[in-house]
Symmetry: C2
Subunit: 400 residues, 2 copies
């Protein structure tokens, strides 16, 4: 039995014509001899509409009930896809998280998959050619619905593929993984293959093809992911553990852009190890996501800068006012900035990426506000109004 | 533990303001010391919209998948009611048919409730003040969703009340049970009490306050039903086994009107018992609902007339063409007619209802096309254009 998981995103099932298109694509795979496990997202903007409905009734909707509400979105689209498949003679059945036995933790609105009953699914696959499974959702051991957070349908799909030990095809409105967003740099390269590690960095730094958690699971269980568009027959991108041997590994695989960043600088903190730890613990306790962190010690005092999204500014200001008075330190906010990240597993065995990147900035007379690096990426914070131009220049410099 | 079932229809939860109103009504009952099991229909016209969506994808949507689709309507409204209740500090939880363990037969789109796990519900009632249960739906033993057919939420509510041995309050946009539709006869009386038997006849003959199946269950398990409007505080109507003793039983409790009837007459059938049985078996096999049947024997031949709704005309014409050629009989369609039904358990012990009804028709120079009677009702078929006028005259004659 050849099995494949196919995931279709919300824009791929946004209306009845698109649902018919998805059903025809699934049918084609069945005709090729596959049993298909199809993971479907909610139609178009359904999830956002349901959230707005809930918020019009309660400023902070109960999370258990919010999940109960949101899971209906995928059930609708799955039933409609199954209806269409049945109509064109394909033996299909739709299953929600209860029926597919997708067990999760109890963290409503942000649960993690604990287990999927694969023997149960295999029973269904004996009887049906297509199982249409609701993405984004699960159930707890005591029978309550949960959701997996934004991008959760990707996670559902990869987890199912991991359990069924098969490939995972992810269809969206994006044709594949590019070296750079083609809207920013029209000459961007589309990769035939990319490694999990590069994909993880790209997903984490703003490329919206795949949700990072799904790539983490794919890496852990070595699930091959194929990303392509549901609207064309154009070849997509394989996300894999390592590139095929005949393919020379590029040093840089992608450039991503994350707009709308603010920089917070704190000056003149005392040089004690506990101080920095204390500040970042307080920030984390408030649920504020801090991204680039850069620290400089200077004689008797420490200066630290980091980035936050503007949504978090109110909360962080309140917190810094409380905290810093104890230490006699000052802080400043600076905006608007954007983060440019250059990613590539190939950097591990290659030199000069940082210097080439800084050269581009220098030749455009832009001073980076912050620089952070990891083994396989370098990020620079630059003024937002220069960011697009810089991305183009960087792509040219690295021949992407 | 004082428990009550409250059911709110689709129009009562059609928008967020109405949902808040329903939540406030439920909260009031909790403050009076009740544990409330609240059965909620899908918002407004949701079910129709979902059916149309399915039909735009398949002329005959797979029924198992159609149920999978439709059950989401009630899950949305239940989650929203629970969110609103939680927001105003009421300890509530919503449960779908899986979670409430409402077990049904396997007849998709028209299933019947087989059992409800009452011990399970009582466990929830220990922990929560309100359980919001999805109406209209159930699950089969092997875990597929089913729906109970039109009006199924009434059935869900009464079945829950039967299991929990409590009263059942049914809220809709109708204030209670009237002797006649107030739109037809503005002076119609609203009853404080009506018997199951009268309610059954009224429900079956066009009064839309309660669905007949729910009244059948109420009668079988002696569940007291209270029908009232969710939009006002006006007293509604109790549907009970027998009227309170201090209340004199009216001879006639209601007049109902069923428009859009066609009459089929078949002439010159041979006088053999098997012929009529054969014809009506064929009609039933085609799923055509025949209502009033009247038969006259005349020497060597039999004439039979019955009513159908115009939707069935195509199917029945085809069938009669096939069947009647064997017997050498002729048929005719006549329309448009309306059926007026006069209902009253009191008829059992009272005479002259039929003659008073026919007197009204005579004085208006209307000849009834068909008459059928049961122990507690009389129906006459009359030209549709005279029907409204006749209903008024009949109400006046019976002092309703």
């Amino acid at each position: 039995m050849r099995v494949v998981v196919q995931k279709y995103g919300g824009s791929s099932v946004a209306d009845t014509d698109r649902i018919k298109n998805v059903a025809n694509r699934i049918a084609k795979k069945v005709q090729e001899g596959y049993k298909v496990v199809s993971v479907i997202s909610a139609m178009g903007k359904t999830t956002d509409q349901l959230i707005n409905l809930a918020k019009s009734l309660s400023q902070r909707p109960d999370e258990r009930e919010l999940d109960m509400l949101l899971v209906t979105g995928e059930q609708v689209s799955c039933a409609l896809v199954a209806i269409t498949l049945k109509d064109i003679g394909i033996n299909a059945i739709s299953l929600n998280a209860f029926q597919a036995k997708i067990l999760t933790t109890k963290h409503h609105t942000n649960a993690r998959i604990m287990d999927i009953s694969v023997s149960h699914l295999r029973e269904y696959l004996k009887e049906y050619d297509v199982i249409v499974v609701t993405g984004f959702q699960g159930v707890t051991e005591d029978g309550h619905f949960t959701t997996l957070g934004r991008g959760g349908s990707d996670t559902s799909a990869v987890a199912l593929a991991a359990k069924l030990k098969c490939d995972c095809e992810i269809y969206s409105d994006v044709v594949g993984v590019y070296s750079c967003d083609p809207r920013l740099y029209p000459n961007a390269k589309k990769w035939d293959y990319i490694t999990y590690d590069d994909m993880l960095e790209l997903a984490a730094t703003g490329a919206k093809v795949l949700h990072s958690r799904s790539v983490e699971i794919a890496k852990k269980y070595n699930v091959k992911i194929y990303c392509a568009s549901s609207f064309s027959q154009e070849e997509g991108t394989w996300v894999v553990d390592r590139l095929p041997e005949w393919l020379e590994e590029p040093v840089v695989t992608g450039v991503s852009l994350d707009r709308n960043q603010m920089k917070v600088s704190i000056m003149d903190l005392p040089n004690e190890a506990t101080v920095i730890a204390d500040i970042f613990k307080r920030v984390a306790d408030k649920g504020i996501n801090v991204d680039m962190i850069s620290l400089v010690k200077n004689g008797s005092s420490t200066h630290v800068s980091f980035t936050v999204v503007p949504d978090g500014v109110g909360k962080i200001e309140e917190l810094l006012n409380e905290t810093l008075s104890v230490y006699g330190a000052k802080y400043h906010f600076y905006g608007q900035f954007a983060k440019i990240t250059v990613v590539g597993t190939g950097m591990r065995s290659s030199y000069g990426v940082a210097s080439k990147l800084l050269e581009v900035l220098q030749s455009e007379q832009v001073e980076p506000e912050l620089i952070t690096t990891s083994e396989i990426k370098i990020s620079v914070l630059v003024p937002e109004d220069k960011a697009e131009m810089l991305v183009k220049k960087i792509c040219e410099a690295f021949e992407l």
